[in-house]
Symmetry: C2
Subunit: 330 residues, 2 copies
């Protein structure tokens, strides 16, 4: 008898996938979002992702923050596909002993998360559950030819990200392990965990300009995101400029933590991981700067399907690990 805890989330998803019959769809199963073609080149874009109190809401996160995050983590997937979210539906499972005022805070957070990115909460469902469960479903409209998939990265493409990594992992350490940091560092790390931002304006601008070949959000960690693109595109990566946040480097040094571990495998970060044809690189940089974002070149897509990191003059293998439900523990 095999229990799900032993096999982990990804095998569970694969087991489920094998039971499903799929139609011809404009976006392949397993990409950040799903799509339904509604007319020539026009795609209804759908996404659902669930936040569960026990595993996904760290100690120290308020109900307002949890509600907001439940929306933002879904918006992040839309950002990776360059699609504007229009509507959000929410399934809310609430333990019966919950305070009504906490549900109100949660609803405020949901509303703010949607409004921050131009979407509205249109409806949903509420019921009783042992854990707090917040399942958000997003809807938007996209043009098929403008949606970057995970499967179109090609050897020679530049690999880029929209921000530095490791801050959320450091923040989770502050919350769960009692490790401390300076006031300004604490704020940076805790904001990354408690008030994540989706890179929607960056994703929308890049997709519209058609300068991105492959794209994914980094919610399961940078390493895992690279592996997902590698698997879908049949390529490898050579990373020579790992985007460890400067604050994370210092924090790791002082607390004898591995900065690679924090930046590569932490998860709960909502940057975009992108591959871009070299001839579009300057244009991509300009476009992201114009919307007030940043784009960091971190390496190159390779034909060889290895996952290699150059770090302090040494060559290190990037491991296929990241946040995985049933297996990971913060």
């Amino acid at each position: 008898m095999v229990i799900v805890k032993e096999v982990g989330e990804r095998r569970v998803i694969e087991a489920i996938r094998q039971e499903l019959i799929f139609p011809r769809a404009p976006i392949p199963f397993g990409d950040d979002v799903s799509g339904v073609e509604i007319e020539r080149n026009k795609v209804a874009v759908l996404k659902t992702d669930m936040l569960v109190g026990k595993t996904d809401i760290p100690h120290g996160m308020s109900f307002w923050q949890a509600g907001r995050k439940a929306v933002v983590m879904n918006v992040s997937d839309f950002a990776a596909k360059g699609v504007k979210p229009l509507a959000v539906l929410v399934s809310l499972g609430v333990p019966p002993s919950f305070l009504e005022k906490d549900v109100v805070q949660l609803a405020r957070g949901l509303n703010v998360g949607a409004r921050e990115y131009g979407a509205y909460i249109l409806g949903g469902d509420t019921g009783e559950a042992s854990d707090l469960v917040i399942s958000c479903s997003l809807f938007g409209l996209g043009e098929r030819r403008l949606i970057p998939l995970r499967s179109d990265a090609r050897a020679g493409d530049v690999v880029a990200v929209t921000g530095f990594f490791g801050k959320s992992a450091a923040g989770l350490k502050l919350l769960s392990r009692g490790i401390s940091a300076s006031k300004s560092f604490s704020k940076v790390f805790l904001d990354a965990v408690l008030l994540p931002k989706a890179r929607l304006k960056e994703g929308l601008a890049l997709a519209k300009a058609k300068v991105v070949s492959g794209s994914i959000d980094s919610s399961d960690g940078l390493a895992w995101s690279l592996y997902e693109i590698a698997k879908a595109s049949h390529v490898g990566f050579f990373i020579d400029n790992l985007p460890v946040a400067p604050e994370v480097s210092q924090f790791a040094k002082r607390n004898q933590l591995d900065p690679l571990e924090l930046a590569l495998y932490g998860g709960e970060e909502y940057e975009l991981v992108l591959t871009i044809k070299p001839r579009f690189w300057k244009k991509a940089l300009r476009i992201v700067n114009q919307v007030g974002g940043s784009l960091l070149r971190i390496g190159e897509v390779t034909e060889k399907t290895d996952m290699v990191l150059r770090w302090n003059g040494k060559t290190v293998a990037i491991e296929p690990k990241g946040w995985e439900h049933f297996k990971s523990r913060a």
Copy 2:
């Protein structure tokens, strides 16, 4: 400190509603489904509803049946609005001690539930939760002018339903209370609980013909559904032909149960509750017969906002009660 168990699901939903900012939307908040206008008269129709192991999956229901039901209960809302579901997304919360083979059964049920009604499971999310949680989100396309709301019932309209009531309530009694019934009755009652059917072909045909003024599905019970239409349309009901299933009448008699209780307040039934202008009644009957369904006239919409039942020569008030999370217990 007010806890949600004390106030019940409907007040929790109202508290949430007050925190949300709504756009101009083609379908009002609180109707069976939500809508986003995507072009003139074309509406993206969205619905999410969650099944939670502890409260919504009766003892005796298999995982295959639970997965199927999680889809069907959402399809039922689409049926009430006359919209064909195209795609389903699933957020699955699974206790870590669950068997992988049970998840596989669940996935099979999800797939069957979608395929039965012409839809496909396109994607979703899996995570760890204390309860089994199955949150399905449906997407479809509708024409605004063809979608019957809860708010357009008018005095003088015929009230009709697509089938008899009380079978699910009787089935739940068989499963939870150890009350027994004849083999053929047991099958009828258990099928109603374990293998519910959504009245999609009836709903689609009626909406297309524009013969329905008000419409809702009866998942929270017949009484509650009537109250919802009454509230949204500012009308009342005079019910003179309560559609108690003949099997339920006999079962109630033998077990000294109240047939009204079973038929009015049971919930977990997926018939459509409809209001129809008298001049369209014959056409409505013909249309539903053509698709192999049935339509039972149960009463009339009244200007007076009372809720009155004629039963065995007596006048009885229908109470505003039905299935309510946090409060109801099977």
